[in-house]
């Protein structure tokens, strides 16, 4: 790997950014902004016959600088990197990028740091200003150092995530709309760090300004978890900042691997499935540890926690399977390869990316269920494990059923198959939920996975007290298996029909 300064993509962007007019204009604008900020803050503090508190001025000025740096590091860099490969494709220069004789790793680093030269320059130039004025303003040095560590790792994480995502956006030009939505979302729970009962520190990873607030506000105004000695990773005492720091490193590593993998081939090869499983497992391990204080504190509400956990990861895994279904042509190649596809569904799931993702999906779901069991054993010890496993199994069958339904959509309409497949899933969930409001059809809720998270007392008792299996569980199981069988038979029939007319013919790779 050549040195960063020899990376052609970084060289190219630096060349454009460093044109005298642009560079000087940017520097003048930046320092002009700082000057105006300082002026405004000090004038705001000026009262008749009261001397200006310089310490307060520096304190407020450092917050102003830090706010600019956070905006540049997280939101501006994300928007620019999301647009990076999109711009190459939009201006018909993507083939020039593909044919550059440098490794995919160099292309990733080049796109990441080359595209974000402007926010990176802001970040670097303002760091001594923010740090020194923060110290002069009485901010705690340890918190400042941690905050800067979080800003720089967050910058790397978000920039690399933007590059990884950009390769899958085609020529979509709405990157800044996505950033705006993300900004609004992340600001919305900024003040949660000041609620007394707040413990969900991992959530702050998605809200950079919450991290900022938690780092600069007086500890007496913050939730207890931010005070020294009150935060834990599993049972190990740790500074709360270690949680977002580790998650940013995790996101950076995962995004880097994804971006390199996608840039290694023109069509964009996805991350190997075994890598997705490993990353998911690591994520579950980290999340469980960093949520220790939240989970430990709610044995009374553990059913709700379990259901929130299942619902969240059900949605995430379902989305993953939808994005991982091979495109039509590749799927047909796999189907035609040899006979005995049920066996190959098992044996080739991790070696051949053309294989439908039923087995990897099951592994992800088992990891989720396993995590819930570990949470119970570590923090609560109240749940009936066989009951938990049965619920997890029913949810898994629902995931497979919806996955099959999505596949059916792709088979019916090749070019917009993803949208049709998603529509099928939405209908399969919405129809029972609508009709369950009709008197006498209330049990239709069990035709969806949400039947297991309703306020049904019998299911709650089964989970907590190991009562006999309630009939609602059997109803859910029958509905799940029934849908899987019906969708599966239709899909298999559709495959047979497509094989008869396919131009691909009998071709063995």
């Amino acid at each position: 790997m050549p040195a960063l300064h020899r990376n052609p993509l970084i060289w190219r962007e630096w060349r454009i950014f460093s044109r005298p007019g642009k560079l000087w204009g940017s520097l003048i604008a930046l320092f002009g902004l700082l000057f105006l900020g300082y002026l405004f803050i000090s004038m705001n503090q000026r009262c008749d016959n009261v001397p200006v508190d310089r310490r307060k001025v520096f304190h407020d000025f450092s917050l102003f600088v830090l706010a600019i740096q956070i905006f540049a590091a997280f939101y501006v860099s994300l928007g620019m990197t999301l647009d990076s490969i999109v711009m190459e494709k939009s201006r018909n220069a993507y083939e020039f990028l593909v044919t550059l004789p440098i490794s995919a790793s160099d292309k990733t680093i080049g796109l990441c740091f080359g595209t974000t030269i402007m926010p990176l320059t802001v970040l670097v130039l303002l760091t001594p200003v923010g740090f020194l004025s923060g110290l002069a303003g009485g901010l705690e040095p340890g918190n400042l150092l941690w905050l800067y560590a979080l800003i720089f790792t967050g910058f790397a994480a978000f920039s690399l995530a933007g590059v990884a995502a950009s390769n899958g956006l085609g020529k979509f030009r709405g990157a800044w709309i996505l950033v705006l939505v993300f900004f609004g979302f992340s600001i919305s729970f900024m003040r949660a760090v000041q609620y007394d009962d707040f413990t969900a520190v991992p959530a702050l990873t998605l809200s950079p300004y919450s991290l900022f607030l938690a780092s600069v506000v007086d500890s007496s105004d913050l939730a207890d978890v931010f005070n020294s000695g009150n935060y834990h990773f599993y049972s190990f005492e740790a500074p709360w900042q270690i949680c977002p720091f580790v998650f940013y490193l995790f996101l950076a590593g995962l995004s880097y691997a994804t971006a390199v993998q996608r840039l290694s081939k023109p069509s964009g090869r996805p991350l190997p499935r075994w890598a997705v499983m490993a990353a998911f497992g690591l994520f579950q391990f980290l999340l469980t540890g960093f949520l220790a204080d939240t989970l430990r504190g709610c044995p009374g509400g553990c059913i709700e926690v379990v259901m929130v956990y299942f619902v969240s990861f059900f949605i995430i895994i379902l989305f993953w399977t939808m994005f991982s279904i091979p495109e039509y042509g590749r799927l047909m190649e796999w189907v035609e390869k040899k006979r005995y596809w049920p066996v190959r569904l098992l044996s080739e799931s991790f070696s051949d990316i053309r294989t439908p993702t039923f087995v990897p999906t099951a592994v992800l779901w088992l990891l989720t269920a396993g995590t819930v069991i570990c949470i119970d054993l570590l923090y609560w010890d109240v749940l009936n494990i066989p009951a938990l496993l049965l619920i997890a199994l029913i949810w898994l069958i629902y995931i497979w059923a919806y996955q099959t339904l999505f596949l059916l959509g792709c088979q019916l309409v090749r070019k917009s198959g993803n949208m049709i497949g998603a529509l099928f899933i939405a209908v399969a969930i919405a129809v029972p939920l609508v009709f369950m409001n009709i008197r006498g059809l209330e049990s239709l809720i069990h035709a969806t996975p949400f039947g297991l998270i309703s306020d049904d007392v019998s299911i709650r008792d089964y989970l907590l007290y190991a009562t006999p299996v309630p009939k609602e569980m059997y109803i859910s199981l029958i509905w799940a298996v029934g849908q899987l069988v019906v969708f599966g038979l239709i899909s298999a029939g559709r495959f047979r029909a497509m094989l008869a007319i396919s131009p691909l013919g009998k071709r063995v790779k």
Partner: protein, 316 residues
Amino acid sequence: MSENIITTDALRKEYYETVAVADINLAVGTGEIFGLIGPNGAGKTTTLRMLATTLEPTSGRIFFRDKDIWKRPEKVRAQIGFMPDFFQMYGNLKVYELLKYFGIAHGLSGSELDHRVTEIIGLADLNEKYDSFVKGLSRGMMQRLCLGRSILHRPKLLLLDEPASGLDPLARKNLFDLLKRVHDEGATIIISSHILGELSDLCTSVGIMHNGAFLETGRTDDIIRKIMPKRQIVIQLVTDPAAAAGLLADRPGISEIKVDETRVQFSFDGTDNGLAELNAALVGAGVGVSLLEEGKTSLHELYFAIAERDADAGSS
């Protein structure tokens, strides 16, 4: 190691139900100028993009100097220059900066890079635009700049997709003169076009594509001899051409006689000795022959002969 710089083995590309390239086997010898010709939609661009590693095949393999290109594509890209048919350059870079950018990517640096950039700008006749922004260049200048970018690193193989499209005749001539200079420096060239006339003087071998498959491939002369074995002879006359045509009609090995005001053109399947005897016979019969020459079959004529043959084969 074979003498072929690039070969393909049952190369295929499909888009859903459309077969863009259908199991082609291609072999281009080192030092050749290979013309990939065919109508729009024949599969030329798809083929070139697969050779240039910007598009992955559905099946089949491509070998560059006997090595599979997808094993280490970045190593292959270092030895290939590719000029796509439709592109935009980085308009906010200057001409010399753009070339430097690609030069750095190819591992050039320092004075070697500066020297090579200056050389390429001279070769592409862009000296007066050295310090100009790329977005201010004309279409012809952009094409020459893109070609210059492709040869910056002295590639062993140059892939050009419709390099002269949209250019005026003078610009096209300049471009092809540049290509000849590049070929003289040792590059093998694969060039695609649906304008056959411009490739006639350039190509040493051709591949004629239609509906994703090759109708014929090989050295141009060999294909001409195979498809159109008869020689095209033109006789310029100072006497009545009709009389000469009448004499020729009785001679063996002569067919497709065409007469105009001062010339007679015909197909002849004899040897040079036969041609000399024919000339002597005409002169002896009082025909005023001022010039006897053999016409060169153009790619245009060759392409239509092949297309006609293929159509006949299809209908029978």
